[in-house]
C-alpha cells in the first residue's frame, strides 16, 4: 500500500534520517520526501513522506518504531492498497528489451511502481533480471503474471513467477 504521512521530528542532526530509516526496516520503499523547515512547531520540523509498505501489519510496525524514536505522526492519509508481485527472468536479455516489455505491460495493466534489477553478468551464465511491480488489484497481479509468462515464452526466456 502507498501511504502519505506528515510527521514531526526534532530539529537536530540525524533526526530526519532517523525517521526515514524505519521504513526500510519494515521492508518499505520511500517514494518521496518533502522536508519543510518553515513548518516548525515547538522545536520540531515537519516532513511529508510518501512510502510503500507490503501490508497493514508492516504499517503498524512502522508506527510503533516511530513512536519509540519520538517521531510524531500528525497525519496519515491517501492510503491506497497496492499488490506487489515479483518475477525473475533468465536468458539472453538486455535492459532495452525489458524496458520495451514493461512499456507494453504498462499499456495493459495499471502499475503503481516498477523496479528492475539486473544480475552482474559473469562468465558463461545467462543474464537474469528481477522485475518487482505493484499493481492495483489481485486480478492485475494475475494479469501481469500471465502477460510476462507468455511474453517470455515467445522470446525463449525462462520465467520464474512467485508464490506469496
Amino acid at each position: 500500500m502507498i501511504v502519505n504521512a506528515d510527521v514531526f521530528v526534532k530539529d537536530m542532526p540525524g533526526q530526519l534520517v532517523g525517521s526515514l530509516e524505519p521504513i526500510s526496516l519494515v521492508n518499505g520503499n520511500i517514494v518521496g520526501v518533502v522536508h519543510n523547515r518553515d513548518n516548525k512547531i515547538s522545536g520540531r520540523i515537519g516532513v511529508n513522506i510518501t512510502f510503500e509498505v507490503g501490508s497493514a501489519e508492516d504499517l503498524e510496525r512502522l508506527k510503533e518504531i516511530w513512536e519509540k524514536r519520538d517521531v510524531m505522526i500528525s497525519r496519515m492519509s491517501s492510503v491506497t492498497e497496492t499488490f506487489p508481485t515479483d518475477c525473475l527472468l533468465i536468458g539472453d536479455i538486455s535492459p532495452s528489451q525489458i524496458d520495451k516489455l514493461m512499456a507494453k505491460a504498462a499499456k495493459a495493466i495499471d502499475m503503481r511502481s516498477v523496479d528492475i534489477r539486473y544480475s552482474s553478468k559473469t562468465g558463461e551464465e545467462k543474464s537474469a533480471a528481477m522485475v518487482s511491480v505493484s499493481v492495483r488489484s489481485k486480478e492485475d497481479v494475475l494479469k501481469f503474471n500471465a502477460f510476462m509468462m507468455s511474453a517470455c515464452k515467445r522470446s525463449n526466456i525462462t520465467y520464474i513467477g512467485s508464490v506469496r
Binding site: N27, G91, Y159, I160, V163
Partner: protein, 331 residues
C-alpha cells in the same frame, strides 16, 4: 491371511521386505497375517504359497543379485502361477509406455486383485483407465507412496480432509531438485551441485527425470486425478525444469529475500511444474531433500505437511499404510 506379491526388488522392494520383517508383530496381531507368496525382479522370481522369509529374500538379493532362483520370462507369468490378494508394484517408472509395471497392474486389476503401487508411470499415463478397471473388477488401486514418499498427502486429503474443498495443492515433490537448489543458495554452481547430489546418491546417473521436472509432473498428475477428480495425463502438465536456474538468478532472488524452489501446483484449473520465487520463511522455502506441500482448503485454510519424499524405508512406510487400509476394508 493377506497374500502379497512384490514386483520389483530394488531399493523399495527390499525396504518393504525389511519393514514387513520389522513389523511382523503388528501385521499378524489382530489383523490378517501378511504373507509374501512371490517376489520378482528383472531376471528372477521366487514363489512359496506358505510364505517367503522377507529377510531371506533380502539376503539372497544381496549375495546373488537375484531375488529368486528361477528365471523370469514375464512378470505376468508369476502373477498367474500363484494365488494372491495384493500386488505391490515397485518396478522402475517408465513415463513413455508405462513399462512392465503397467502390464503388471492391468493384469492384477483385471483379475480382481488389489494393487498398491509406488511406480508413478502407470498412473501418470493411465489413471482413469486403471481406476475404471479396478472399479469394474471390484478391486482397489492404492498409491500413497507415489507422491511425497512418507508424507501422507493423498490419504490426508481423501480421508482427514473429507469435508473440505481442497482449492489447490502446491509443493516441493522432488528431493533431488530441492537439494540442488538449496545448495545453490550458498553460491554453488548447478553442475557442481548436481555432481554432489549424484555422489550422495540423491540423484540418478541420468538425472533428467528429476531436474527436468518429469518426476514432479507425474506426481502433479496423480494429485490432479485423485484429489481434484480431474481427468488429466502427463502430457497435459506445463513443465519447466531447473536446468536454466543460474547462481546469478539465485543471488538476485536472495537480494530480495527470496529463494527459488521447484514447485508442483495443481487445482481445478492449474497443472504446473516450474521453478518459483518463494519468500524466505514461507513454508515452501525449506532446504535439503525434504518434500513439503501446502494444501489450501476452504474451511481450514492452508495446511502444510512435510516429510521424507524418498528412501527405502520411508517409501515402505507409505506401502504399509496402504496395506493396512486394504486390511481394514477386508474386515
Amino acid at each position: 491371511m493377506m497374500r502379497i506379491i512384490i514386483a520389483g526388488f530394488g531399493t523399495v522392494g527390499q525396504g518393504l521386505a525389511e519393514t514387513l520383517h520389522k513389523k511382523s508383530n503388528l501385521l499378524s496381531s489382530g489383523h490378517d497375517p501378511v504373507r509374501i507368496v512371490a517376489a520378482f525382479d528383472s531376471k528372477s522370481f521366487a514363489i512359496d504359497t506358505d510364505g517367503l522369509d522377507p529377510m531371506g529374500l533380502v539376503t539372497r538379493k544381496a549375495n546373488t543379485g537375484s531375488v529368486g532362483t528361477k528365471k523370469l520370462i514375464d512378470g505376468t507369468d508369476v502373477l498367474d502361477s500363484v494365488e494372491y490378494d495384493v500386488l505391490i508394484e515397485a518396478s522402475p517408472t517408465n513415463i513413455e509406455t508405462g513399462g512392465a509395471g503397467l502390464r503388471h497392474i492391468e493384469h492384477a486389476l483385471s483379475r480382481g486383485k488389489d494393487v498398491i503401487t509406488v511406480n508413478k508411470g502407470p498412473l501418470a499415463l493411465k489413471f482413469k483407465e486403471l481406476s475404471r478397471l479396478a472399479e469394474k473388477n471390484k478391486s482397489s488401486i492404492l498409491y500413497e507412496g507415489t507422491v511425497g514418499g512418507a508424507m501422507p498427502i493423498i490419504n490426508l486429503c481423501r480421508e482427514n480432509l473429507q469435508g473440505e474443498r481442497v482449492r489447490s495443492i502446491r509443493g516441493i515433490f522432488n528431493g533431488t531438485c530441492n537439494f540442488i537448489l538449496s545448495r545453490m543458495d550458498n553460491g554453488s554452481p548447478f553442475e557442481q551441485t548436481l555432481k554432489e547430489a549424484q555422489q550422495l546418491g540423491y540423484a540418478e546417473t541420468d538425472p533428467r527425470y528429476d531436474i527436468e521436472g518429469i518426476d514432479t509432473a507425474c506426481k502433479v498428475v496423480i494429485l490432479a486425478n485423485s484429489i481434484f477428480k480431474r481427468n488429466v495425463k502427463f502430457s497435459d502438465v506445463s513443465i519447466t525444469g531447473i536446468t536454466s536456474v543460474s547462481t546469478e538468478a539465485i543471488a538476485l532472488a536472495n537480494d530480495h529475500d527470496m529463494v527459488i524452489r521447484l514447485i508442483g501446483e495443481v487445482s481445478d484449473t492449474v497443472l504446473d511444474v516450474s521453478p518459483r520465487l518463494i519468500p524466505k520463511g514461507h513454508p515452501l522455502s525449506v532446504s535439503g531433500t525434504l518434500n513439503t506441500a501446502q494444501i489450501l482448503t476452504d474451511l481450514a485454510g492452508p495446511i502444510t505437511i512435510s516429510g521424507k519424499g524418498a528412501g527405502r524405508i520411508e517409501t515402505a512406510s507409505a506401502i504399509l499404510s496402504d496395506l493396512m487400509t486394504l486390511m481394514g476394508r477386508r474386515r
